[in-house]
């Protein structure tokens, strides 16, 4: 597994921010940490990459973040993440992709209250992790399983990102948190993915998801449903996905590895939401 070292980039950030005007620090942050990533996002500007990673949990620069970053570098998460990924690669017969590990935004309340400060984002062919300095080993496992499940599913699905539908996204998230449940245990499933009532999730599906299964990610409604903005229940898409795949796994003949290769419609047909 190819883990790209980020410590030099983080050290560059620490050096440069201490010699830069305070108001230029966000730009310095972007140059040091996202400049080396431009080759991995050929169609995006440096600004786009920076906003994208910050939106998914990358720490936001601050005049007093030196200690956090130095501790993060000293923690050296590389070897433990590599070990987990190597096991998963074998388990799922998954691809080797470049992996980047950065400090997470420890000051963000949403991130610390609901996610224990960890986050990540997967794209076909690249994977980013955002970690706080005090992450528990189990939580780190849960995050890596979740995101690497995305890499395997995207690889097997073979669709371009712009062609993915809401159903694809729901299935993708359901596969990821059910992988956490299967490999680690129910207590490590993210609280955002669980919902106390199966019946209510079924109702959510019929009311909001079923009419929108073909929605593309470029449609603002797609992410409103996934994350549960406005009048939608919080993390609606994640909750429905979790139940959808959990119900597929009740079929004894289905296993996650094999499910990575089935189409989202096939999985829907196996699920409790099949019509």
């Amino acid at each position: 597994m190819t883990i790209i070292p980020t410590s030099n980039w983080l050290n560059d950030y620490l050096t440069m921010k201490n010699t830069s005007d305070r108001e230029l620090i966000p730009r310095v942050h972007a140059e040091c940490l996202c400049g080396p990533l431009e080759a991995y996002f050929p169609d995006a500007t440096l600004q786009d990459i920076h906003i994208h990673l910050v939106d998914h949990g990358l720490f936001w620069p601050h005049p007093t973040d030196d200690k956090q970053i130095e501790t993060f570098i000293a923690r050296n998460y590389t070897s433990i993440v590599r070990k987990i990924l190597e096991k998963l690669t074998q388990h799922w017969d998954g691809p080797d992709v470049p992996v980047f590990i950065f400090p997470s935004n420890e000051k963000n309340r949403l991130l610390s209250e609901h996610f224990e400060g960890v986050s990540g984002v997967s794209h076909p062919g690249k994977l980013f992790f955002f970690l706080p300095n005090n992450v528990s080993l189990k939580k780190l496992h849960a995050l890596v399983i979740h995101e690497y499940s995305h890499i395997c599913r995207l690889d097997k699905l073979g669709k371009k990102e712009e062609d993915l539908t809401l159903l694809d996204a729901i299935v993708l998230e359901g596969l990821a948190e059910n992988a956490v449940r299967t490999l680690l245990g129910n207590e490590y499933v993210g609280s955002w993915a669980k919902h106390p009532s199966k019946q209510e999730v079924e109702l959510f599906f019929r009311k909001w998801i079923k009419p929108c299964l073909d929605l593309k990610k470029t449609d603002p409604l797609h992410d409103q449903i996934m994350y549960g903005d406005g009048h939608f229940p919080k993390w609606l898409g994640y909750k429905v996905g979790y139940q959808l795949i959990a119900s597929c796994l009740e079929h004894p003949e289905l296993q996650l590895k094999q499910m990575h290769s089935l189409s989202s419609l096939q999985l829907l047909d196996y699920s409790m939401f099949a019509s």
Binding site: D21, R22, E23, L24, I25, P26, R27, A30, F41, A44, T45, L46, Q47, D48, I49, H50, I51, H52, V54, D55, H56, G57, W60, H62, N105, K107, N108, L110, L111, H114, F115, V118, S119, G120, V121, S122, H123, L143, H146, E147, H150, L154, E161, E162, A169, L172, E173, G190, W192, A193, K217, T218, D223, Y227, W235, Y238
Partner: protein
């Protein structure tokens, strides 16, 4: 002083696209101009990707303030040295 100082000063609040001499493109709303830099509030463009359930909260229909976010007010716009600007174009308000 760069010719872009006056241009940017006159158009604070307007969305622009700036190309710098290193070939990079920067887009955003002009928030402030100093004698050496122009500061943009970036306009987000989705890059897709699949997260862990976390997504930084947005304001309604807008980016919610790149700088004000997290309580670091006045600290976070995208600075571009005026001397590095190769081209500047104004964008229509509705382009994003």
């Amino acid at each position: 002083m760069s010719k872009y100082y006056g241009v940017c000063q006159k158009h604070i609040g307007r969305p622009v696209r700036i190309r710098t001499r290193d070939g990079r493109v920067h887009a955003g709303i002009i928030k402030r101009v100093s004698p050496s830099h122009v500061f943009l509030e970036p306009i987000p463009k989705g890059l897709g990707g699949h997260g862990y359930g976390y997504r930084r909260p947005y304001g309604y229909g807008s980016y919610g303030g790149y700088g004000g976010y997290g309580g670091y007010g006045g600290y976070g716009n995208w600075g571009i040295a005026l001397g590095t600007i190769a081209a500047l174009a104004f964008l229509p308000f509705f382009f994003w």
